[in-house]
Symmetry: C2
């Protein structure tokens, strides 16, 4: 009897027969687990963690290879554990042969460095019985002499470390000052670096920047480890609400992701996380609150108000991060419960806040935030577009990993497709799903209401129609890759939500799509999609393609700008204050607009419905 | 075979036969352990912790009454564990029938309340879909309206708690502001309280104050729990230097003492530690550094410089304290490695910093700090007087607990003595030791060099002479209480150190004791002593008794003044900067002065040796 097996965070799922090992299941579903010993239990590399469901009891090999703590947390060796029912498994990055693609880069706006910290090289006079001066006062004197500035305050953790540093380094150091507070005493050779992080619900992007030049020294992305506890924000909020311990756990996971990026990025340039003297984190309001362990109940209950909207500076250690002794983390402001600091960062990163004409900036994700700039007035909405375009709830959907179909077109009765890494196809990632939907609509397989018509490649399965995109004989022994009628409905809901947001925004200013000067598409999904496909299904308005600009991870770019520039932080605060939040659900014609928006096909926005 | 048994922190020790229970040993040595069931193992109240040495294996009764964690930490039931060798045992306060006497009170100087925090009562407009305002901004608006002051910053822990508080209390609260930062949101009924702590090496005194009136609501003392790891500062510094874990442990013990006082004192007035919005801690430099987990190595190595001298404000949570969400702890400045914040607090508490004439203030302890004010100029010294006057290293010495002889006089061949609590005598506490030394010197039993002469009450024991103060037949079945020749030598060293400090201070300003207008004696020991005894042995200069003022715990009084008044904190900073530190060991005639100072008998200070 086959059981449903789901691999997180990669988002791959499907049926596998009872009694098969988890490794076989992974191979069946195209998840590339590390198995150096080819499943003999000797390499111990194919670790996975059981999140839900039942597997056979641990074997003697697992008892030997896994620690007590690991076994208690549900860790298993995929080559040893066998299926007894439906299971959900977490695959850590180190158990995957090829990492998932995470978009970290984007179009940069030039920003003059104007860091919030000063580095002051100090050479102290060693204390003696004749010159009895405490270390902190010794530092203060030297800073005043070298820099003409008074340290009004010393961070406690900095003081805990500084004495040993001074004695071990010939009484020389770089004092790091922030707003009159001495937050670190580093080696005179330490680089001047800061960390910017875009903490997404699914992906976390990190950037290490030289604070003097503003140059990016290194960047990397990883999956948000909270995914193991729920793909969407609501599930995680729900989890954090269960108990204080759960809230602390969700906080710790978010913190670990930031710490991991700090460690990886500094290692890449031969530095250490203790060299990071400043950090900026942006994320949606829920990620922001989970990272700060702020209450999240109120984000899911009307009237959906955050605990804090304004920008915050917190000590890195207060959220469990391991950066320089007294380093702060700056959190950009949130606009509303569903329009968070990542949206403000996107406004910085795209420069839309200073656009002179009429510009739309769209960041498509599980939640899609859209900003309209119209002659200097900013309005933002949030649309619950759901995770369909990230491959969730789509039969053969998956995230952007090796083997995912990212481009697809239909030529008469033949599908052409391109996969990530050129591997044999495993499933569809977001841009592939969008192309498939557009291709089927344009070929008339789907009508405007989304109903699937008869077609040689359409078959019945499990009581619904499905279009065979890749037949079983082309999937390296795996099942055929299809798009089902139910998948189409999911996608109509997602694209309908986005189109509703765009329509409502324009109408709120008495505008139509003809008034637009530019449409900026930000975010990972938005960067990989074919705009023509998005226009074809009516997700984006039917404007000439040259009016669209795909800018990549604009929120990440905005976080970098805020990291290196105090002015950009002030701009972010002003912009967040200026932006008007439009609550879609409270609009009188919301339901009608949403119903209209689900139709497939090109569209133009009129002033009235 | 008898074994040496030592009970900490009470400081009582003596020989007890092998095989006796710890409870019997305690009774033999006059330590009043709780034993409600009279040693049958049913009440479980006589818990003690084995610090060193060997006891019999835990009995079945102990296995049942003690948790695994307790057994691993060395906890035992005194009625079950039997002696197998020399042992050192820790007796927690709850296992003693009568608490030790700790001096918390002192003469107060009137101080106008001028707290560093403001309480602002706020009534918020609940947010709605029409009025979407985040909680922090809602608080900011209300504070601005009620108080005319802007919250520039919100403490993170305060934000973590505030949302639930507001929703649970009808959107009303008292916002607590400190220097533009909102550090707590309390119930509108919460009292306005702060905590002042005098963190002594041996004793910790705590005071809960009403910040509006400056009134002391409650006060209490307890033993410093670090005592279990060493009676003196050097042992504890040594311990903290062993490893990071040991340093953290010593820090945690100090923090626990403060937390314990916070809990006990707030309970006494029906409040909770979370109501404490401000705190001041004073202590010697070592206690200061151990509490803040600052490096202590440098305090015991030349040139003995502290990590920090100036006053510090740290978040209570950063040192593990559990007060109001974002509460700070203010640490008064240290002057030098051995003249710490407690000395500065004593200067505040005695008002010596504003004395117009020539005044000496002496705080006698394991370390004795002395300040000389001479026409507005302040000079301070530290003398290593040792713990002899606290009963340590004295054969029948003990701390000031029930049964300790606190007053003693010799009438011909008969000793008259008074004990704490009027109990049958158990040993000698500091003031009793001082009286005994004076009485024996004045009766000619001791000569000026400290040599013990023949006397009907002098006997030979263990190769040395000893004076029988209380014969065995008057000690309720315990051994006789004596003062030995070796005890006398210890006491000469202690009093010699203090006299050296006084002499050096006066000579540094070209003064003699005749120039003095007043001698202030601060601290617990100094409050209980008979000044005449101290003059008789030559510990204090031979001045008319009315020139001495015994002020009690002046450091504690100073900590209270700093708690309620920002001006007093500024004065403390100025005073610490003005005070000149005189390093005794670096004086050219130090050894000679010290040798002279050990002689018994009244003395006067000359300008030259």
């Amino acid at each position: 009897m086959p059981h449903q097996v789901e691999f997180e965070p990669i988002g791959r799922r499907g049926p596998v027969g009872e009694g098969n090992t988890v490794l076989t299941a992974a191979r069946t579903l195209g998840v590339d687990l590390v198995a150096l010993c080819d499943g003999h239990g000797t390499c111990g590399r194919c670790k996975v963690r059981l999140l839900e469901g039942e597997l056979t009891a641990p074997t003697a090999i697992e008892d030997a290879r896994l620690s007590n703590a690991e076994r208690q947390e549900g860790w298993r060796l995929a080559c040893q554990a066998r299926l007894l029912g439906d299971v959900r498994l977490y695959v850590p990055p180190e158990s995957l042969t090829t990492p998932q693609r995470t978009l970290v880069e984007g179009q940069e706006l030039p920003t003059a460095p104007e860091p919030t910290v000063d580095f002051v090289e100090i050479h102290l006079i060693p204390p003696s019985l004749e010159q009895l001066v405490a270390d902190a006062e010794n530092i203060r004197r030297a800073v005043l002499e070298a820099h003409g500035q008074e340290c009004r305050q010393f961070d406690l953790a900095m003081l805990q470390q500084a004495s040993a540093h001074l004695r071990g380094n010939g009484w020389e150091a770089q004092a790091v000052l922030r707003d009159g507070e001495c937050i670190a005493a580093l080696s005179t050779k330490a680089p001047h670096i800061g960390l910017a992080v875009d903490l997404g619900t699914t992906k976390v992007a990190g950037y290490l920047l030289d604070l003097d030049s503003g140059r990016t020294c290194a960047s990397a992305g990883l999956m948000n480890p909270q995914i193991a506890y729920g793909e969407d924000v609501i599930t995680r909020i729900d989890r954090a609400m269960r108990s204080d311990a759960e809230a602390r756990h969700m906080q710790a996971l978010a913190g670990q992701a930031v710490d991991q990026l700090a460690a990886d990025l500094t290692a890449a340039i031969g530095a250490t996380p203790a060299d990071i003297v400043d950090a900026v984190v942006v994320g949606n309001t829920a990620m922001h609150h989970l990272l700060l362990r702020l209450p999240v109940e109120q984000l899911v209950m009307a009237p959906f108000v955050p605990a804090v909207g304004d920008a915050l500076d917190v000590k890195a250690r207060d959220i469990g991060l391991h950066l320089a002794a007294g380093a702060y983390v700056h959190l950009l402001p949130n606009i509303a419960g569903y329009v968070g600091a990542d949206h403000v960062a996107m406004m910085l990163g795209t420069g839309i806040w200073q656009a002179s004409g009429t510009v739309l900036a769209i960041d498509i994700g599980t939640n899609t935030e859209i900003c309209l700039a119209h002659h200097g007035e900013l309005t933002s909405v949030s649309c619950a577009s759901g995770p369909a375009f990230e491959g969730a709830h789509i039969t053969h959907g998956m995230r952007a990993a090796v083997g995912a179909i990212e481009r697809l077109s239909l030529h008469e009765q033949h599908i052409l497709c391109a996969t990530i890494g050129g591997a044999s196809p495993v499933g569809l990632c977001g841009s592939g799903i969008l192309d498939a939907l557009a291709a089927l609509y344009q070929a008339g397989v789907l009508n405007a209401t989304g109903k699937m018509n008869e077609h040689p490649l359409v078959r019945d399965s499990d009581g619904q129609r499905e279009f065979v995109l890749v037949p079983a004989d082309e999937t390296n022994g795996r099942a055929a890759i299809t798009l089902t009628q139910r998948d189409v409905r999911e996608l109509q809901l997602a694209k309908g939500a986005i189109r509703t947001g765009i329509t409502a925004l324009l109408r709120s200013r008495q505008l139509t799509d003809e008034d637009l000067d530019e449409v900026i598409i930000a975010g990972a999904f938005g960067s990989y999609i074919q705009v023509s496909s998005a226009i074809a299904i009516g997700m984006l308005p039917a404007l000439p393609e040259q009016m669209f600009r795909q800018v990549g991870n604009a929120a990440g770019m905005g976080s970098k700008m805020a990291l290196i520039s105090a002015s950009q932080r002030r701009i972010a605060a002003t912009v967040a204050g200026r932006a008007r939040y439009l609550e879609l659900a409270s609009l009188p014609d919301f339901s009608e607009t949403f119903t209209d928006s689900m139709y497939l096909g090109e569209y133009h926005i009129s002033l009235q419905r």
